[in-house]
Symmetry: C2
Subunit: 438 residues, 2 copies
């Protein structure tokens, strides 16, 4: 088999078979296909597309390129949750302990922040001492003991994805739905879980700005999971304003702890709704309830009971974090040297808060990475004082900015305010969940 | 300007402007764009296409990437001819001296054989001592003295084309009409001639098998020339059976000398027709006749007069070749150690001779290159004894194979015979010239 012939075939829009896709993935991962041929192949695949079978085969081949976690020794149904990335989307921090508290196994492998969006690993690492790089033995042992673990992807998991993504990143072939789906799921399928609950974000703060693209991605991901015999549900959800009030790594952990304590503050309604719905599906797949609606009610109940917080504390302890964060989160997560209020130049009702602008502003304050060498400031971020529909007076604070000397406050404020709209009328409420795809 | 943005733009099918195309060509030639980005760009250009303006800009930028010959010091109109490559297409060897004998300047830069097709340089180099690698000074001096020179492309001419072609060759992006047109014409425009007569071959022996592709290529090339203010005519011509009787480097020079001597043997009718027509256009552009038809008659007259042979002898002498080849070509070009007849297993009328099969058979005998390291045998090749429409008896010779020990005769014979069809009825005559595009 020659890569030339595969490039030719894909260029002509012909579908590739299992042997051909496996040849590309394996040979490229082993370094036997030069980058210039792989990039021509990826561009052809980008433009001509991959059908459902090809996308599934690509996902499988990328998954098989590395080690897979074997959780079969641990009795019970394993369920994971994944989001395509949003702003202020710290739901994993809350839903994983809640679902685990209900007795469903949650082996969660997360990623880091990308562009203007946050990443679960970065958030967890703002807890002093918290280790996301558990060894496989530590991971399995923790799963057995407390039924949940939250770690990062190791280099042994789907190495093909890492190599292919790096090439896509510099050759304008990232935003292809089949390639995105294969990249996400090649890692998720390597986790060895039985069911997946996927949250595909859409809107100005998401990578998929257009709903139709998000729905298509959701369909493709659902299809891959079904072809791999995994139970799956994909929710297409709104990412126009940030989910909760907190944006920034430490601030989001603080907010997660508050919510796990059962608090329901103004501004966190969408965060809580999505937590309950996603968790409800996880409980359903885990066999703990008869349907997702019952699951949602159960998650809500457990959230208010504080049982999730207890489970979160177990995770923190088990992964080397300081358990004192549970009792006094403000002490740990509100320690940015500078806190400055951003006030409204307008009077009226908040009619729009652009999540992407807020994400970029938080990044400029130090909460995200501008490039691969950027160092995160775990204390940096934004706390929103106003959310969509809130009344605001001229000069009244809309948000608090947390940062350290050297951060670009002025630029952040400008970007932030450019994303806020204040009008005369209260905006119409929008649905949080656009579509549920199974 | 970033190559990433250009890849993105072309991926989305958007046209690129002059600065963008020049940036790609110049930065890639200088080694400032890595191959993996260039190949992604070329694949996007391949699939999305380039419009007329983009193709012309690409050609110009590739042309400008190196030195251009300056023939402005030599008074007179300079006209060149180029063919996209066929089997037994030694017309350049004949038409260049004929046109030069009529007083039109012919600065001809040719290429080598590619795949199953022959190349003018390889043919000329079968003349003992003949140098195709003249220095620029030698080239100009010869143009002044005898009005014609036949040389190879130097590394200084259109280096961008060489680099881009090498990458296209391994990334399945060769057969794109705009990229082919830009590649051919970037070199031709660097020659500094005033007019071009182009012969685009189509049929089983051509790179463009389909007539519609050949016509499209012809239109694109004509458009580029016009945008570059060069006079141009493009003939789309039939390449189903080999043009003359000879296929192979030395054998084709022998046949060219015979034709320049005024001979018109059975089997060379198409060769001679095309020579006269192409030469007629060259004379027209050179201002020697009122139209191409008059030019055709003039070429025919000069061909029969032997004046072209005299000019060919001048070329041979001037470029270091042994002038004795003119007097006794058989002595020089019929010296393959083995000559074997291939006989017909059938009786009837020859209804098809597949030029590609004949080209591949000649290659297997040593007349072409299987890979970059292959060494040509200048004496190897095929002389056809039968052509389309000829009667043949069972056991009667169809061709003579010329080769050296070690050549793959058996395989060559098999390939050759697989391309020959003998039927009951004489085939209908087909037009040689499909279309004339200006």
């Amino acid at each position: 088999m020659r890569i030339y012939d595969l490039i030719f075939k894909k260029r002509e829009g012909q579908p590739l078979n299992q042997e051909e896709i496996a040849f590309f993935v394996n040979s490229f991962t082993k370094g036997e296909i030069p980058d210039y041929q792989a990039s021509a192949f990826l561009m052809a695949a980008f433009i001509r597309g991959l059908n459902g079978k090809e996308t599934s085969l690509l996902t499988q081949a990328m998954c098989e390129s590395g080690t897979k976690l074997n959780l079969s020794g641990i009795p019970g149904i394993k369920v994971d949750k994944h989001s395509t990335g949003g702003v202020g989307d710290g739901i994993s921090l809350v839903v994983a302990p809640l679902v685990a508290a209900c007795g469903v196994l949650v082996p969660m492998i997360s990623g880091r922040g990308l562009a203007h969006t946050g990443g679960t690993l970065d958030k967890l690492e703002s807890i002093p001492g918290f280790r996301t790089n558990l060894t496989q033995a530590e991971f399995l042992s923790q799963m057995e003991r407390i039924g949940v673990a939250m770690i990062g992807q190791t280099s042994e998991i789907a190495p093909a994805d890492k190599k292919i993504y790096a090439l896509r990143d510099v050759t304008a072939t990232v935003d292809s739905i089949p390639l995105i789906a294969a990249s996400i799921l090649s890692k998720k399928l390597a986790e060895g879980c039985d069911a997946l609950v996927l949250d595909v974000k859409t809107g100005c703060g998401a990578f998929m700005r257009e709903k139709k693209d998000a729905v298509r991605l959701a369909q493709v991901m659902a299809d891959i999971c079904k072809r791999s015999r995994k139970k799956v549900v994909v929710l297409v959800t709104r990412m126009e304003e940030p989910l909760g009030n907190a944006i920034g790594n430490g601030l989001e952990v603080w907010q997660a702890i508050e919510i796990l304590r059962g608090e329901e503050k103004r501004g966190t309604e969408s965060f809580i709704e999505l937590t309950d719905v996603l968790g409800g599906w996880m409980l359903f797949f885990g066999g703990k309830v008869r349907n997702s609606k019952e699951g949602r009610a159960k998650i809500s109940e457990v959230r208010k009971s504080g049982a999730g917080l207890k489970k979160f504390e177990e995770i923190v302890r088990s992964q080397g974090g300081d358990p004192e964060v549970i009792q006094d989160p403000k002490k740990f997560f509100f320690r940015a040297p500078i806190v400055k209020e951003v006030t409204s130049p307008w009077k009226g009702s908040v009619s729009f808060i652009n999540a992407r602008s807020v994400g970029v502003a938080a990044l400029l304050l130090g909460a995200g990475r501008e490039n691969q060498d950027s160092v995160l400031d775990p204390s940096a971020g934004i706390l929103l004082a106003k959310k969509l529909g809130d009344r605001v007076e001229r000069g009244e604070p809309i948000a608090q900015f947390f940062y350290s000397p050297g951060a670009r406050f002025d630029e952040a404020e400008k970007v932030f305010l450019a994303g806020v709209k204040v009008g005369k009328l209260r905006p119409k409420p929008h649905p949080l969940i656009h579509q549920v795809i199974r």
